[in-house]
């Protein structure tokens, strides 16, 4: 068992049932898989980053204030990629707080690593901003509103490929 991965859908279903909900969350499910190949070497590619890690930016004075007002559309917001990582933190509460922490932004939002790979020429460049998506219980809103907004921004950024990270 310890060698096998954790079944979060089963665990969550059991949790809902214990809370008295017998109509638990329906996870997104598809039979098909869309695919687009990468058509040029990574050393010539601009990479984008999209995260659902609830990443947020501290104010200049280090306060946890509203930071996304200018960029937020639906659940999608953007942050300049050259932000000091020391100013970033995650507001996510759904990580395993008994086993780990979110103290290192790069463990769930690999900004520094992407900058390094760009500086080393492993990738062509890292886009000038990255994007956050606040998670929603509504798959419809995610599909009809938020995913198209992320696509629009990624096209504006002219990225060749995108890395996605939750917590």
């Amino acid at each position: 068992m310890a060698d096998d991965y954790v079944r979060y859908m089963d665990k969550t279903r059991e949790y809902y049932l214990a809370e008295g909900y017998n109509n638990p969350y329906q996870w997104a499910h598809f039979e098909d898989t869309p695919f687009t190949p990468l058509t040029k070497p990574l050393s010539e590619c601009r990479l984008g980053l999209v995260t659902t890690s609830d990443i947020a930016v501290l104010s200049e004075s280090g306060e946890r204030e509203r930071f996304d007002a200018e960029t937020l559309v639906g659940n999608v917001y953007s942050i300049p990629s050259d932000v000091a990582v020391e100013r970033l933190y995650s507001r996510n509460e759904h990580y395993d707080r008994f086993e780990t922490n979110l103290n290192d932004v790069n463990s769930y939002c690999p900004l520094t690593r992407l900058r390094e790979f760009a500086a080393e020429g492993r990738i062509g460049s890292f886009a000038g901003r990255f994007h956050g998506v606040y998670t929603s219980y509504s798959k419809r809103l995610t599909m009809e509103r938020d995913a198209p907004e992320v696509l629009k921004r990624c096209r504006e950024d002219e990225v060749d490929a995108v890395i996605l990270t939750p917590v």
Partner: protein, 122 residues
Amino acid sequence: MSLVARHLEANGIPTVVFGCARDIVEYARVPRFVFSDFPLGNPCGKPFDVTMQRQILEMGLDLLARAIAPSPTVQTPYVWSEDNSWKAKVFTKERPFMEGETHERWMRAKEKYRQLKAAGKI
């Protein structure tokens, strides 16, 4: 997140997802998925372990470069702890999914969702 990856991919942008909840991501079917068998929180490597973080990102880049069709899940070679005892404790009474204020916020959000759904607004 998988829904966003699928939408980008369907519209001509290659993607790679990093994650720790293997069953959820695989259920949604994304074309490239790098799985670390870790507790939820650090899909890009253990906190402050730069070498591991670089290697995990590299596995994703390699997958981007070589995939010519939707790829099976790629698992990173790392273990969280030697006995992996954390796995049996996930979402147990000893280690509840949520508690206190977090749990109350979550229940309120769920209630709001039910109301909106019942009203046909989402």
